[in-house]
Symmetry: C3
Subunit: 357 residues, 3 copies
């Protein structure tokens, strides 16, 4: 059964097909208005995320399907101690495709290993959030006309921002991409991501602490929120926070065809006054997210008609135990501790990608 857990589950060709479908949907919505008639999407959100959930639900409804689900853990059977695996098995009786959001890293993977229907990862802790990346890619494609030969700035919290990591992983497969990593020292891109994705792919990159210096060079600026609690000291936060806020003044130094993206919700990192700038594309991005989710649901339901039984056993090894407290393997009952060998010769947990100790 084909699922989408990590953006790299799909090849570059598959992503391009999704993008083409999404563009076609946006231009011909009526052609798709009954495509999923009598199909049901289950939105299993173990933590709230209105935008993501509503985007999935709107996507399914615009395909003529319907939706069941829950929007927070307190409304789920998890409070009675039900495992992710059992939830996935049971919901497979009720729905044709599942979108799962969980604070546990690897939760969607566990669900996909147990469900009888396709599972879409709608965010698993700080780990993956591939449908956000689908929205990002479609927006870049539609606004810039290409996904290669671009200078892409990533600004804000590059350490914990999973959307940034996923976008870098996605972009690393295109040619001519240069990324500009703009963040305070405390929130730099993790070494693992830098080594495993950026350097391994041979992607060009520079790091800087100055948004203002970087701005004039960028084709795309990807803004993210900086959370106060990420900083070691309150003084440091106060000293730095304003320099990562995008204002009308700063926009004056950017290229006239640069585009600004943001996974949303924003707090104050982009001034509301920037919204009127035609280069501000973050609300278009939200709309594009809906079209990509429509294309994704169509693709997965189509592939589910001829499911290929996936085998996990031969690629994975036992003998390690994950130490990541947010990993789904910490709480899921009777879940085998499985690890995979990555290119650097290390073993990583298959659920959360944490390196074995």
């Amino acid at each position: 059964m084909r699922s989408l857990i990590d953006i790299t589950d799909f090849s570059v060709e598959e992503l391009y097909d999704l993008i083409k479908t999404a563009v076609h949907i946006s231009e011909n919505p009526d052609l798709y208005a009954e495509k999923c008639r009598h199909k049901k999407l289950a939105t299993l959100f173990f933590e709230p995320s209105t935008r993501t959930r509503l985007s999935f639900e709107a996507a399914m409804l615009e395909l003529g399907g319907s939706v069941i689900g829950f929007s927070e853990a307190s409304a789920s059977s998890a409070t009675k101690g039900e495992s992710i695996a059992d939830t996935a098995k049971i919901v497979s009786c009720y729905a044709d495709v599942i979108a799962m959001r969980s604070p546990k890293e690897g939760a969607a993977l566990v669900a996909s290993m147990n469900a009888k229907v396709p599972v879409i990862n709608a965010g698993d802790g700080g780990h993956h959030h591939p449908t956000q990346t689908l929205a990002d890619l479609l927006t870049i494609y539609r606004e810039k006309g290409r996904l290669d030969n671009l200078t892409v700035g990533m600004c804000g919290d590059l350490k914990y921002g999973r959307t940034v990591h996923s976008l870098i992983a996605a972009l690393s497969r295109y040619t001519g991409i240069k990324i500009v990593l703009i963040s305070p020292k405390e929130l730099e891109l993790p070494t693992f991501v830098k080594r495993e994705i950026v350097e391994k792919s041979g992607m060009d990159y520079v790091e800087t602490t100055s948004l203002e210096d970087a701005l004039p060079t960028l084709d795309v600026l990807y803004m993210t929120r900086i959370q106060r609690e990420r900083f070691d000291s309150a003084e440091e936060y106060e000293r730095l926070k304003d320099s990562y806020v995008l204002t009308v003044e700063k926009m004056a130094n950017a290229k006239s065809d640069m585009i600004v993206l943001h996974p949303l919700p924003r707090v104050n990192e982009i001034s509301v006054k920037v919204d009127d700038d035609p280069r501000a594309c973050y609300f278009k991005q939200a709309l594009n997210g809906k079209y990509m989710r429509m294309a994704l649901i169509l693709k997965l339901l189509e592939e589910a008609k001829n499911p290929v039984k996936e085998t996990y056993s031969d690629q994975y090894v036992e003998g390690f135990k994950c130490t990541n407290k947010k990993c789904v393997s910490m709480t899921e009952r009777e879940l085998p501790n499985l690890f995979k060998k990555t290119a650097d010769g290390k073993y990583r947990c298959i659920y959360c990608d944490k390196e074995a100790d």
Copy 2:
């Protein structure tokens, strides 16, 4: 883009058209069962209100449309600090019409200023609740055959009861209306409402503390709940509470064609035994609310086909700051503090109607 924030946003003629449509729907539901096919309503409820939400959802479903949304703030992006304006912009990508409930006064107005789709105020704090008034008006019209030449008693908490204020504002535009204000001193109609609406319109009114005295004179009795915490002293509450409870005994002194309304939910202010009295119309009122919401959704979606860009700037002034702690301007980021000059020469916050200090 036409929205409904305050009942007086609609003219008397428009209200009459809505009433006629609602009556037609109630008599010919099948004619409307596919009117909103492929349309979506978003119910954005930042605080729970089952009846109002279910009424909106039933309305949209009976028009053949579908529904997305959330039923309390904890399930929304507001917990991540998203502004009302951003929520409205994003949800505009997912839905064709929005019904918003918020504890913040002016929230629906802010939403309507930012949404690309019509916004219906489903209650903004103690401020407005226009769709309740639509239900009230349809019930009076259907049961009494007219909206003019009526003696209407309002009983209970007239100070904080927003449904009472909205109904008075609506009735003030009809001729021959006399209102009888029945409440303890502590919960009298606020001077502002009395002066701005009742007296300005030249409406006839009397004030009394006795439900029993007023009852025989009424064509319509609008009951509301009296909350213990509204009273200065517990003794005062104990002394008074029973006199504002409608019982079978009290009903014996009312006209044989009087009708009893209540916005619901009731606690104990109308005895369950009164439900069997044919004059008890509060459950019919709930049903009428659904029909009026159907008519309203149809009207707003129709008008949205040819949206008129509204301009706010020329009617509003800056230079004041609202001091109402429940006003949306207290928390919404980068929201301009706008005031309007009212007939009495005072300046009032456009969001919550609080007078400038």
Copy 3:
């Protein structure tokens, strides 16, 4: 108006008709995909229960209908003090059938006495849960080919497990049923159930504390969860808990055509490894639950076309007051305290079945 509050509200013949319809639906889903077009189900869940709620919602959607509702009390008007009776009356304006879950025993009965549409009890505290029993019966019927002449083991918490009590009541009407009650002393089947249902029906039964001893004799094993807090002492719990966990090893001693049921969610009382055993039928049971709910909704909506006004007064007596703290009569306003005389000559509360003091 016909409702389903207790499994014995339906005759054996009616249950058989439901089973036949459910089987037909499962084999011909397309024939039913539009049966409830323009009909609405309200899922009023005053406490969370994902599986039950999603099963009802999937059932209604697969019949072409739609769904409104809430999934926990905090999102309902109950927090404003609305009675069950009023909620039922109002929701009757919005939906064609109601599924109600409440922690209060008798809540669904009170709802059915006030609603203008059929009410399905989706669980009322520790009292009844008839649609779970429908799922159980269909699974036994489909897997064993019959509902009579079976040895059925019930294992775990037989004291508080309402699903066990309901299943025993249902099975007591078939011939040749032998039940094997497997539990620690602390969690034995209550004397009331034993006397009123098991012995009165002349059903064969044995009691044992050993799952291993009982296993080889069973045609059906119905597992339930044992909660730590049910035990008098932690030592007792630790000593016993493993003996009531079903493992691959224990399954080796069961008949080759025995079937294992579980109302779910499970915690650890059935090892995940048992899932691969073809005798493990608990996920099929979840699927069967959906089909039975579809059959039930069809039946109740069909009967609602020609509603028979039920009269309660002549069967019930006043003069007692229920002392069960979980009884709906403790909190529901102006609810008459009604009792019925049962076969043993005692008087029991009509809402929760508690014996009068």
